[in-house]
Symmetry: C2
Subunit: 265 residues, 2 copies
Amino acid sequence: MTDIRGYATHDALALAGRLADAARIETLRYFRTDQLATESKEAQFDPVTVADRAAEAAMRDLIEAERPQDGILGEEYDDKQSRSGLTWVLDPIDGTRGYISGTPTWGVLIALCDETGPRLGIIDQPYIGERFIGAPGLAQLQGPQGPRSLKARAPRALGEATLFTTFPEVGTAAEGAAFARVAAAAQLVRYGTDCYAYALLAAGQIDLVIEAGLNPYDICAPIAVIEAAGGIVTDWTGGAAHGGGRVIAAANPQIHADALVLLAG
Amino acid sequence: MTDIRGYATHDALALAGRLADAARIETLRYFRTDQLATESKEAQFDPVTVADRAAEAAMRDLIEAERPQDGILGEEYDDKQSRSGLTWVLDPIDGTRGYISGTPTWGVLIALCDETGPRLGIIDQPYIGERFIGAPGLAQLQGPQGPRSLKARAPRALGEATLFTTFPEVGTAAEGAAFARVAAAAQLVRYGTDCYAYALLAAGQIDLVIEAGLNPYDICAPIAVIEAAGGIVTDWTGGAAHGGGRVIAAANPQIHADALVLLAG
């Protein structure tokens, strides 16, 4: 395995795994329990739970102890600037609406980024006990059926493709219309999976994920996992996606190109 | 535990558990594998997999061996008339679209019905290893966190409620409009979970599930699980739901009544 800006990938993976382990404990402490308290962060319903904050705090503590020179960008607390050129990008619970509903498709997102973007990522589903991992030289699922390699799908026509997104309305009216053009061309469209859709794409189960209005911490870990599995993640014009916004993840360059044409209108 | 038409509930539960065990083996044999072959049953995309047929056949074999006098109503094979007054209602893979996409929210549905409707039911999610069970005197989840009691939620206002359905369009245009009236009044609406939504309702995680166009084998097991957990399942006019069609599942009679008013228009 190659290094990530002088940080041995093996060591970075080990720390990322410990972060995910810590987040599992904190997120499962409240999942499907009566104690789960929600609060509204914005006028639109967007619950942030006690577990969300506790999981991010636990991950930050581990990073501070082992890699104090690294930056941290997380959903719940202030940014910490990097002095190493590397930054950990954390979403302690991606899919809080799913989390408070009890569905097993929310996840803990952990990425390690340099100035070029995500280099290592984990999508962890604590309740199922599934961990989707991408890093230089590694694309692996650790789950209830044992370790499996992750490999994105071979090309197929849009008319035979499966497309996922989280909300049917997708984003603005214009974004929703662009999504609808791709949806109309696809064979199957499914909703409601949050980060789990990106994990399924890396696992070769689906062809496309299209979303809008994402934050960097929503997409950095999926980018690392999907790219390690041979897929591609960009914004809707083919540019870098790790800044968030409008994102398309595709199993291969061919279906990516086909979908970009329809998104452009 | 009371008997179910002279069949000891303990024995019926044991057989139902063996059916679910057999279906787990057959469904997991193909889940997330390249061998998963799909075929189109109708013009609308509705894949039926090898696993679907194998799982139902395995369950039928067990019923024939132990309870040859019982009827069988399954998705994949011809009906078998009952000579005992009891009928097993089976859906080997509820949510085949989710199954072929790799999501962990499809399920195996097993119900035992008499002339009044479902008396015992199991919603099983093989990949996670979760089994939601309802029978006279029993409402239990067996899952990765050990056994837990199932209890549907206490009443809350529609404006604080979570509503699930599988497809955003729900059914016909009129059915979609009726659903939209309830959705507009709810706090949170989620899609794409198939039978798993009914399991979450029985587990006290959500308040309402509303669907249309269901078959009897889609809803008999959820009815038994939800009623055992204290919830209520009817058609959109408050009548019996085990025949399928338009179905509403509610955590309690209060929110059921509130939603029925909006469904009626």
